[in-house]
Assembly symmetry: C2
Homo-oligomer: 311 residues x 2
């Protein structure tokens, strides 16, 4: 089964890791959010692309989900010592990735070319596609802190500011990166990973041409919210502050325009009926990925559900 | 005695280290060559400024003379792994310096402001002044490789290409950094460190306004060449390729316009007479700095010679 998956950062990377263990690499293409990309210390950081790639390369830090395992921190320690900003945590190996990516971007290479070459170096066999090579910046519009670039909101301010709205700056001019529309067209099913709907999946969906291609395809989403709580990150808080009670149902409703099926956790079994009423097929399983084994088990379950919606 | 010293990289840093051990910090100001500065991996590298500052901060690598002690190399290892250039060796802590400097330059701070702030952080009590905040690039014009930026010649090609000439690109537009002319005017004596005359000292001398101020002052140079050989680096090879037999005498001759005295090694005792004929007072001592003790001893000797030329 040819699968194209949409993914953001840590939560998405866990399911991607499971799917990669279940599918031959040529059958799994990943389209990754770049709305979180930002400039830090004059370096172009692509947090979600790196998290997905490090995970597939088997070098991600299992404790944090982001960054590289067995990191040293000498560059950032020195930067802090010299009075520079250190709120975005970059280890020394990770700095190498950002420095080399930034160098290539300055030389005129595109983010998708660079990602392909980095994946080749890391031995990642799957195709990993940034959603766009054009700049898109997720801006969190907050009550007390005004407009904040996403990483300022997410990392520097620890998601503390109260959200009013989210905006994807540059989205109307951003074209899908080469291969993105083809990856959707050629997929038998599109899997929306359990990433943050507002800031990881919405930017991908909002890129020119993606939604019209996506709605032609069977698509299944996995809830990032269990029992009204986000497994990780600010998704539930965002739903609340944007005036929606956070739940798996709210996520399914958010995606209803383009998904055929929705995977929710056993703890949310009571929501199956309401999800069905949205015209979406609900599937229930254990969606908490607390170990490598549970990543693979959820991937297997999701692929089984996919078989059922394709048939 | 108020001293202002002109210095390049590793050789200069050793004498600076000795002088700093002998003089109260307010009596030793260092003017540092920035002609070697270059862009590597989109970072602004100031090799000589860093070598001087790391040395004064007591964190330089004693084995290489450049870079930081106890370095890790994870960023550069990753950059190489990803296919990037690694011929200029930057350790992780050192990367922090370059990243933070580059960030501040992009924010509009000057190299001299940044150097002052970094020195403050490192606990360096001496004033360290880059010769200029304007871009000056030492270009080595070679027979087989054409025009090479200095670090390409020096580090990447290991000084292998045959020199035709040396050019300081930007020198006519470069103004002395704030404090440089004052440091010369206020000095009782100027010490020209045993740095490479062609690529470390000449750029400083060539900056607008420096020579007219320098010739008003007692000045003493220490030979970087002993017995026709450079202690370190390509100085002797440069003399030969530029048509001059390398020797302490050739260095004294090169500087004769602005020095009153010249320190040569005991091995070159036979050159004293010829140096005297140039109108320069020769002083002879052991100039090889093979240990911390010998750095301090040479500094003491040089300061004694200074007393004698000031009187």
């Amino acid at each position: 089964m040819r699968v194209t998956a949409f993914a953001g950062g840590v939560g998405g990377a866990k399911l991607i890791d499971g799917l990669a263990a279940c599918l031959p690499p040529e059958d799994l293409t990943i389209i990754v959010n770049t709305g979180d990309d930002f400039n830090f210390l004059n370096l172009h950081i692509s947090p979600d692309v790196d998290t997905i790639c490090y995970t597939l390369a088997g070098i991600s830090n299992p404790e944090t989900g982001w960054g590289v395992i067995n990191e040293s921190w000498n560059a950032l320690t020195n930067i802090k010592f010299l009075g520079g900003p250190d709120w975005f945590r970059i280890g020394d190996t990770d700095f190498g990735t950002h420095i080399e990516r930034t160098r290539r971007l300055h030389n005129g290479e595109t983010l998708s070319q660079i990602t392909e070459q980095f994946c080749h170096a890391w031995g990642v066999k799957n195709v990993v596609l940034p959603m766009s090579n054009d700049p898109v910046s997720t801006i969190t519009k907050t009550i007390d802190f005004g407009d904040l670039p996403f990483q300022d909101y997410f990392v520097r301010l620890k998601c503390d500011p109260v959200l009013k709205a989210i905006e994807f700056k540059g989205i109307y001019d951003a074209m899908p990166a080469p291969g993105v529309l083809e990856a959707i067209s050629q997929a038998e099913v599109v899997i929306i990973c359990p990433s943050n709907p507002w800031v990881s999946i919405d930017p991908i969906i909002s890129i020119n041409g993606i939604l019209p291609n996506l709605i032609k395809k069977p698509a299944i989403a996995i809830s990032p919210i269990i029992h009204g709580q986000a497994i990780k990150g600010p998704a539930a808080k965002m739903f609340t502050e944007l005036g929606i009670e956070p739940s798996a149902l709210a996520v399914a409703d958010h995606y209803k325009e383009f998904i055929n099926a929705f995977v929710l956790d056993r703890e949310d079994l009571d929501l199956e009926n309401d999800i069905g009423k949205l015209g979406i097929t609900p599937f229930t399983t254990n969606t908490r990925m607390v170990s490598n084994e549970s990543r693979v088990q959820l991937a297997k379950d999701v692929l089984n559900f996919c078989e059922r919606i394709i048939d």
